[in-house]
C-alpha cells in the first residue's frame, strides 16, 4: 500500500483560514480554489503546446469547475447524459465537447447530438453499427487499448480494442459509411511516467500515416487521453518534465493533425481541499479512534474506487501515537486512515484532506443519507 503523507500542525494563518471557513459554512467542506485549476491548466498547456485540452468532466462534475475551464477556453470530455445536461446548463457550446464513453445507449447518442457533440468514441464493431443512423453527422475516434503498468487506475481492460483489431474496424467503418477521424487511447489514470503514452502515440501515428496512403479519407485526430498524475505524495509535480517525452513524441506527428488530451485528475486534484471535523473519539485495544464527519462513503470515496491515498493534515501539534481516522457511517469499512501517527485530537478539531478534487465528490454515495460535504469556492461564482 502506498504510504500516506501526513502533516502535523499548521502555520497559524493556515489554521485560522480553515477554522474561519468552518465557522462560516459548517463541516464537512470541499473547498475549491479556481486559481489552482488555472495554474495547472496553464502548466499543462505549456508542457503540451498545440494540444487541445478537453477537461474530463467525470473527475469533478461541478458547475464551478466547468466555469473555470470555460473561461480558459478549454474543451470538455463528456461521458454521460448527466454531464451533457450540466454543460448545457452552464452554456458550454456543444462543439467544444467530445463524447468519450465507448459504450452508449441510443438515447445517449441522440441527446449528445442534440446538445451539439458530434465527436464520439467507439471501440468495437457492435458500437459502430449504433452510429449508422447518424453517420452523416458524426466523426468517430476509435479507442485502442494501451495499458500503463504503473497506472494507479487501469482503463484498458474494460475499454479499447486491441491494436491489431484496428485495420478491421477501420474497414468495417468505411463499409458502413461512418467516418473515423482518428484514434484515441487512455493508458490509465495517475500514471507514474509517460512511457506508455509515448508508445501509444508512436504506434497510433504510424498506423494513421500508413492508412492515409490508401484510405480515401485520412485520419487526422490523435487523442492521447488522460493519465497525468496528481501529487498525492506532496513532493511537488514537475508537469513539464513528466510531459517532455509526450511532447517529443507529438512533435514527430504531422503538423496538420489535431492532437487532443482529456486531462481530469491533474487539473482538479490539487484545487480542492477537504475539511472534516472530529465528532467523537474512543480508545480500542490501545489505539486512538477518531470519528470524522466525512469518510469513504463521502468525499473519501476515491480511496476505494480510485485507489487514491490522500495527504492528510491535522492542525494540532504534540506527541504522536498510533491512531485511526474513521468515517461517519455505521459500516466498518468506512475508515479514512489506519495506523497513522497523530497527536491527541479533541472533538471539534479539524482534519484536512489535500489533493481531493478528482474522483472524490464525483463518486460519493448516499449511504446512511448523510449530508454531502458542502462544496464552496474561494472565488465568487
Amino acid at each position: 500500500m502506498t504510504q500516506r503523507h501526513v502533516t502535523i500542525g499548521a502555520p497559524a494563518e493556515t489554521a485560522a483560514h480553515y477554522e474561519d471557513l468552518v465557522n462560516r459554512h459548517g463541516s464537512p467542506l470541499l473547498v475549491y480554489d479556481p486559481a489552482v485549476v488555472r495554474q495547472r491548466y496553464a502548466e499543462l498547456q505549456r508542457a503540451l503546446p498545440g494540444v487541445s485540452l478537453y477537461y474530463a468532466v467525470k473527475a469533478l462534475p461541478s458547475a464551478h469547475v466547468i466555469r473555470t475551464i470555460d473561461a480558459l477556453g478549454g474543451g470538455f470530455d463528456i461521458a454521460s447524459g448527466g454531464e451533457t445536461e450540466l454543460l448545457l446548463r452552464e452554456d458550454v457550446f456543444g462543439r467544444r465537447t467530445i463524447h468519450t464513453h465507448p459504450i452508449k445507449k441510443d438515447a445517449e447518442i441522440r441527446s449528445a447530438l442534440r446538445y451539439g457533440a458530434t465527436t464520439f468514441v467507439v471501440d468495437n464493431d457492435y458500437e459502430l453499427t449504433k452510429f449508422v443512423p447518424y453517420r452523416s453527422r458524426v466523426g468517430i475516434l476509435l479507442r485502442v487499448s494501451f495499458r500503463a503498468s504503473g497506472a494507479a487506475v487501469d482503463l484498458s481492460r474494460k475499454f479499447g480494442c486491441a491494436f491489431d483489431e484496428l485495420p478491421g474496424l477501420l474497414d468495417r467503418a468505411a463499409a458502413l459509411g461512418i467516418h473515423v477521424k482518428g484514434l484515441s487511447f487512455h493508458v490509465g489514470s495517475q500514471c507514474a511516467d509517460a512511457a506508455k503514452h509515448v508508445e501509444a502515440i508512436e504506434q497510433c501515428a504510424a498506423l494513421m500515416q500508413a492508412r492515409a496512403e490508401t484510405d480515401p479519407t485520412p485520419m487526422s485526430v490523435l487523442d492521447i487521453g488522460g493519465g497525468f498524475p496528481a501529487a498525492y505524495h506532496r513532493t511537488g509535480l514537475d508537469l513539464e518534465a513528466w510531459c517532455a517525452p509526450v511532447r517529443a513524441a507529438l512533435g514527430r506527428v504531422p503538423d496538420d493533425w489535431q492532437c487532443i488530451a482529456e486531462p481530469g485528475r491533474v487539473l482538479v486534484a490539487p484545487a480542492v481541499t477537504c475539511v472534516t471535523t472530529v465528532v467523537g473519539t474512543s480508545r480500542r485495544d490501545g489505539v486512538r479512534w477518531y470519528y470524522l464527519d466525512d469518510g469513504v462513503y463521502g468525499s473519501f470515496s476515491g480511496q476505494l474506487f480510485d485507489h487514491a491515498v490522500y495527504p492528510l493534515q491535522v492542525l494540532r501539534e504534540g506527541p504522536v501515537e498510533p491512531s485511526i481516522l474513521a468515517g461517519p457511517t455505521c459500516d466498518s469499512i468506512d475508515i479514512v486512515a489506519e495506523q497513522i501517527a497523530l497527536p491527541e485530537l479533541e472533538p471539534g478539531d479539524l482534519v484536512i484532506g489535500h489533493e481531493m478534487g478528482a474522483y472524490t465528490a464525483a463518486t460519493r454515495t448516499r449511504f446512511n443519507l448523510l449530508p454531502d460535504a458542502q462544496f464552496i469556492s474561494l472565488e465568487p461564482a
Binding site: L88, R110, R114, G116, P133, S136, V138, H179
Partner: protein, 282 residues
C-alpha cells in the same frame, strides 16, 4: 456578441453572428434560441440547428403549403402537424379552405412565436377557420376520426423531438386520415448531407402510398443545396398535372408569393440524380 455555430455535422458548420438575443430556453432537455442576424432577420434555432429565419422562411413555407394545396385543386380541410412558428398556417390561410386544423405539441412554442417571430404567423393565429390543438401529432393522427384533403408535416429533424413524425406508423396513421384524393407532405432534410433520410422515408412511404416521392427547393439556411419534401398520395395524377391547369389554379388563388409560382411547382418534382439514387437506397 457571440456567434451561433450549427452543430448538425461534425466536419462542416455554418456560423451566424448573434446581433441580439431575444429569447433563450434550456428547459425540457432542449435548447431553443431566437436571435437577430443582420443578413437573415430573426433566426430560430433548436438544439444547435437552424429551424427558420425571417429572410428565407418563405421558400420553405410557400413550397410546403402551396404545392399540395394547388395540386389537390379543391382542398376543404387541411391538417398541419407541428409548425408552431405559424409560417405554414399563414401560407395555408391564403387558400379558400373551409377548415385548418393545426396540431402543435407545445402551447409555449406558439406563444413564443407570436411574441418573438410575429412576422411568421402575421396574424394567422386569429383566423376563424383555425382549430389549434395542443397535442402530440402522432397521437392525434392515430386517434382522430376526421379526414383531410392535405396533411402538412412541418416537423423538426428526426434526431430532435420530431422523431416519431418520421416513423412508419405515423405515415400509416396519416394515410387513414386522408380524404380520397388527399396528399401528405413532409419535411425531409437536405439530401446532399443526409441522403439516408431520403432512403428511409421513401422506403416507409412507399409501403403505404401509391405515389411516394419527393420534391425540392433550396432553402439557403438549410445548408447543403436542395432540401426535400416528402410527397405521399394514392392520387397518382396529382404529381403530373398539366402546366396549364397549375397556371390557371395559381392565378385564381392570388397567392402573393415570393418563391412559389406555377413554373416552380412543376419544376420542383424534377429530382437530381443523387436524390433519385438515395430514393433507391444506393
Amino acid at each position: 456578441m457571440a456567434d451561433f455555430e450549427e452543430t448538425l455535422y461534425d466536419a462542416v458548420a455554418q456560423k451566424f453572428r448573434i446581433d441580439k438575443l431575444y429569447f433563450e430556453n434550456k428547459t425540457d432537455h432542449q435548447h431553443l434560441m431566437i436571435f437577430h442576424n443582420a443578413a437573415l432577420g430573426r433566426v430560430m434555432t433548436l438544439d444547435g440547428i437552424v429551424q427558420t429565419t425571417e429572410a428565407d422562411e418563405f421558400v420553405y413555407h410557400e413550397m410546403m403549403a402551396h404545392v399540395p394545396l394547388v395540386a389537390h385543386g379543391a382542398p376543404q380541410h387541411v391538417l398541419i402537424i407541428g409548425g408552431g412558428d405559424g409560417g405554414m398556417l399563414r401560407e395555408v390561410a391564403k387558400h379558400a379552405v373551409e377548415s385548418i386544423t393545426q396540431v402543435e405539441i407545445d402551447a409555449a412554442v406558439v406563444e413564443m412565436a407570436k411574441t418573438y417571430l410575429p412576422n411568421h404567423s402575421a396574424g394567422a393565429y386569429d383566423d376563424p377557420r383555425l382549430q389549434l390543438v395542443i397535442d402530440d401529432g402522432f397521437a392525434f393522427v392515430r386517434d382522430d376520426t376526421r379526414h383531410y384533403d392535405v396533411i402538412i408535416v412541418d416537423s423538426t429533424d428526426p434526431i430532435g423531438p420530431g422523431e416519431v413524425l418520421f416513423s412508419e406508423d405515423f405515415y400509416a396513421h396519416a394515410k387513414t386520415r386522408l380524404a380520397p384524393g388527399g396528399v401528405v407532405v413532409t419535411q425531409n432534410g437536405v439530401p446532399f448531407f443526409q441522403p439516408d433520410e431520403v432512403t428511409t422515408t421513401h422506403r416507409r412511404l412507399a409501403r403505404h402510398f401509391a405515389d411516394a416521392t419527393f420534391y425540392c427547393a433550396p432553402v439557403p439556411t438549410y445548408y447543403g443545396g436542395f432540401m426535400t419534401f416528402g410527397w405521399a398520395t394514392d392520387a397518382t395524377e396529382l404529381r403530373g398535372l398539366a402546366p396549364a391547369i397549375i397556371r390557371d389554379r395559381v392565378e385564381r388563388a392570388e397567392l402573393n408569393t415570393r418563391y412559389y409560382n406555377a413554373d416552380m411547382h412543376g419544376a420542383a418534382f424534377a429530382l437530381p440524380q443523387y436524390v433519385r439514387a438515395a430514393m433507391q437506397g444506393e
